[in-house]
Symmetry: D5
Subunit: 137 residues, 10 copies
């Protein structure tokens, strides 16, 4: 029953074509079956993704991403048990691109809008993604 | 005067017929006489029940359930003194089944809607049952 | 200048007639002169009373009750300095009887509506009396 | 893996003979097999027992006690998940009787040495039993 | 089982002779029978006394003092439930007089060694009495 | 510079031989080069491992384990930034087997010594592993 | 730049006439020049005054009051650095007399409306004066 | 990604002419390029400035100010990592002069409106500047 | 009974001769009679003094200093009720001069050893004086 | 009197020769005169330095470093008021190089021993420098 939240960063492998609509459709199908929810921000080059659900399901999805050739340089930012989901309404919310409004949200919590996955604070990142999801709702 | 809250799980004994309306009518009668309140979620196979009242009354009701052949595999999840009732208005609120809305409430706090009584967190369970009772009010 | 709050329980001496209106009129007169405020719940058999005011005045009123033949089995539940009065508007609020609504208020914080003065929690009792006073306001 | 602690009170059924050494031997055998630990205080008339272990195992032992004819008036005082065992070294520590030293331990936390199971504070009771176990170590 | 601590001040009635040894002997006899413990400081003119034990027993002892002609101007300083006794080893510790060492203890927590019972802080007073009891141990 | 701690569980693939000494020698070599420290408990069937170091290094080691055929059913238990290492002295501490003393350490924090990786509490697990490392020091 | 708040009590010297309007006009002139703000309650016999401003300015005003023959028995109740002014809008708010409404405000926090400057609590006094200033606003 | 906030004071070099509009235009251009935000209060003689952004960018801007001949007596008041920007909407808010309203804001938190940069509290200063920025919004 | 602590700064009036031994002898005599304790640091030019005792006594001593021609520029640093004396053993501890060791104590808490009475932090000052008193003990 | 602590990083300008003994001798001379204390770690390429003292003195020293051609890429890590010095005994402690023991200290708090000045945590850095200073004491 444990509820786990995992946040990771990865880069899109430029040598592989990426069909974002297909990707999200697959996410929705897989996540709904596993009762996993979350949010994905894709700026065209790199992914920031939150996964919420059972520990085994979340691990298993993350482990599959690690071996997926479309993802390079996968870096785990945080993985912790949580009391309540942050994105209960999204089987996988997608936010694409980096327009002015998105940049403004990132700048609330960071010094810029390019993310360094090795040092980014998980709490600040979750705050920014939550703000993005609210603007989309 | 101590006010105690007890939460348990049990499975419905499939070899015995269960008249839920009768069960609840009996609950109401017994609980009202003992000033016991609470909430019962029955998904068709297993029970999750909260009992609130005097320590002796709550113990005595729970002990009776333990010996009731309609309940199998009774597992005590929590029993603590509390400052104030969580379900003061219900001599025994009943929530039956597991429709989409109910599942949604469970998923707020858990990784799925099938409960493992040995590991479920009591606080998360109480939060989910309180959310259910509010939607019924 | 110390502000003190005292809570006690006592039983009405059944061998003495009790004129509640007279009692309250006396209370009002005495308390107003001493700048004492408070609340009295009388269920027909026993008293639960809160006194708020100067330490010497509150002690003196309590000590008089101890020697008053109309009160039997006087039990002191709590006496502490406080920062602010809980019943500033009542020279002595009176709540009589135990109708359904009153019982409901007691059941929010207790396992029943008969009070055991030796074990009742002072904070729960004050919460119940404050709820009663608000319903009367 | 959840670690649960349960505290209950019961009275010895005077119409049934009680072989305390046999009882404890059975306890040790059963508890060791289930990785349950705990402490039992028997003053000749009533039991105060702590059980620590897995939730299902602790529930199952408690449920068996409820139906054991040697126990009357079983009252559950507390049952909560805990972080660490309080009696890890005792498959079932036994403390019998109520000599002067035992009474002294009880008086540290209570107004007397006869326990009212309906109002006794679980934390104070655990403090007293832990003090007894330390004096026996 | 509730454990209560009560602190009061009173003046010795100068028109009545006071046999302190008798008083204490009576205290010891009464308190031991009721499992009440405590501490008494008598400076020759006024008493500061702590009573610890069951709520009914402590109330009853205090109520008897209120009607005892040897005590004048009895002022209740505090009465609260407590978790553990502060003077478990004393059926009634007696500290008499106000020598230099006693005055020094009082001056740690007060501006002087004459006590104003209407404003004295209960916590400071308990700290001073505990220090006195430790010096006597 | 971020310091990250990651805890995971995995099962040994029974169809592959495992040379624990080789494994550890490789660990030591790899970890020392990356300034990664940690602790590994292997009970003969499953691994519990803590990795502490830079976020990218820890991710990269974990991602390699995910794809290592000797590990099956890899489940991530926790991954968080930390202020200070818990195992600074171990390039990779190894604790093998499950003797009586080891079982005793596990029972301090769990209901048994078989770990359910989907529900085990990360803090309790770290407490148990730290206790094991101290006994080995 | 330190912001300091000082509260004192004094008695009006009955042998000197007191022109309250003149006093306040002087206050306003002096305080405005020194950026000092505050509140003054004068019940006809004694003053309760709060001064807020720079430490040197507040000290200097207080020291002048000490030597002013119109003030007798000046007692300093509190003087502390503060983060923000409590009476920023008043170069010197004046509240005169002790009508029913004023007495009611005092009784919220005190046992009566005659102030004992040696024991009055500074926080309660500031709460009462702030309530008075709000009623005047 | 670290977000840093720096607050400093400096004096305008009176021997150099200062074109405030030019200064601010340059600020806006530089800060926007570096994703630095902040607020500047200039009373005609001295500057109080907040810079928020990446640590290197903020340091670099501050270091440039240190060597800028238009600034004399540059004193660093605070520099800390922060969780969220205080002035996200201002590439550089400018507040000029010291009118009555501005003085009133300063007096909320200080004893006067002339700032001593060696002793001014950073938190009070930020509170005053935030209040000014809100009045300008 | 309130216990108050007052800290002030003043300058020695250079036009008046100061007999420090006489001053201290007077202090001892006056303070002992009033149960006032404290500590005095005199660096040859200015005084830093702590007074602890009853509110009226401390006020009265401070008010006398304000009018004493040997003291100039008296600035009140803090005056608050306290729970326990900091200098219970000193009717007035005297520390004179500013040797290397004294300077070292001041530098633990301040940027230098010359005190600015308008901005010095009362807590830091008390820490420094307490350290001095300990080195003298 | 404010006590300020500043931490910065800089790189040694490789085109300028650096006489560390001379540098430190100058530091000692300057700092002692200004009552500034601190600690300097120089690994041969970059500096990590802590300065503690008055705000103006610390600012002035830091501002001089910013313009000193021997320092490149000066990055301010933290500057805050503090209650007590961390390095009171060092007019400027010097720790040079990066031997095994030094690396071990850095690895307690960081993922490696090369510092990224833009992301390093100030608290972790101070903890590491304090550990180094203790090993040198």
């Amino acid at each position: 029953m444990n509820l786990t939240r995992l946040v990771y960063y990865s880069q899109h492998n430029p040598s592989m074509s990426l069909g974002v609509p297909d990707l999200i459709a697959t996410c929705h199908r897989n996540n709904a079956a596993l009762d996993v929810t979350g949010f994905l921000q894709f700026n065209g080059h790199s992914f920031l993704q939150v996964l919420e659900g059972g520990r085994a399901e979340v691990s298993s999805l993350y482990n599959r991403i690690v071996t997926d050739p479309r993802h390079l340089n996968v870096i785990l930012i945080q993985c912790c048990d949580v009391r309540e989901r942050m994105f209960p309404g999204w089987s996988m919310g997608l936010h694409e691109g980096m327009d002015e409004q998105t940049k403004k949200v990132f700048l609330r919590y960071f010094s810029g809008n390019t993310v360094n996955p090795e040092t980014i604070g998980a709490d600040s990142l979750l705050a920014a993604l939550r703000d993005l999801s609210r603007e989309m709702a």
